[in-house]
Symmetry: C2
């Protein structure tokens, strides 16, 4: 059964679906790698962003991890319980908190991140340097337009 919604629309749909499936495949690999280390994707993302960018408030973290405030609240609560992060009141905004990764949290990331980086290197290995640049710039264009 072949149905068409116009050539450009068909191609757009095909591309969006491929984008989702490629992304899902890599995400699933990441999830399985992280779960071997007892980490959820959101825990990892929060630790990683605090490790690489330094202290941040919850709003920025929610944005950077493309999460929802509800999800992040739970993740942050568990990370604090495990003493992987600490939080203090934001001096500029009484309702907000600023999060900091602890030494214990840093050790988690330092144990897990290098192999994660290697896994993502491998996930893109099929592309030449030029293709990788092109893919980044096209996906970035789509990201910004949506």
């Amino acid at each position: 059964m072949v149905k068409t919604y116009g050539e450009r629309t068909d191609k757009s749909m095909k591309t969006v679906v491929r984008l989702e499936k490629a992304s899902l495949k890599i995400t699933n690999k990441t999830l399985s790698y992280l779960s071997q280390h007892g980490l959820t994707f959101n825990q990892f993302k929060v630790l990683e962003v605090l490790y690489h960018r330094g202290d941040l408030n919850i709003g920025s973290i929610t944005k950077l991890t493309m999460s929802t405030p509800g999800n992040i609240t739970v993740v942050v609560k568990n990370l604090k319980r495990d003493e992987w992060i600490t939080s203090i009141k934001d001096p500029n905004d009484n309702r907000a908190s600023i999060l900091t990764i602890t030494q214990k949290g840093k050790e988690v990331i330092e144990k897990v991140f290098p192999e994660h980086a290697k896994n993502l290197y491998k996930a893109m290995e099929v592309l030449s340097d030029e293709e990788l640049d092109t893919l980044y710039s096209l996906v970035n264009k789509v990201y910004k337009a949506n």
Copy 2:
């Protein structure tokens, strides 16, 4: 704080993250559109695949929707309850079922799909025809390699 894991690795990570975020943005738009029509993403995917490809067994549907057997079982149960699909035993495999979209299910897809197609057209509108082709082929390459 700037940390590098090597130029190619950094670029691979940046690209994977952009891929995930671009895909997530479009998925979120789709989810919000579908929820306005009382559909979950998985329900929509199963109906859509039966509508456009014809009858399929659950194994094929699980693959095509990149879902898990557990998820699909629940989705199929609800779609049957709503009389949007029917199932019969697969004559070639006694443990498997073949699913068929009903007239009622077709009407759901025919109501929802054209605007969904338009939404995905718009999501990719920022790209030229050539860029869209390039994006598809690069993402497909990554998809197949992972």
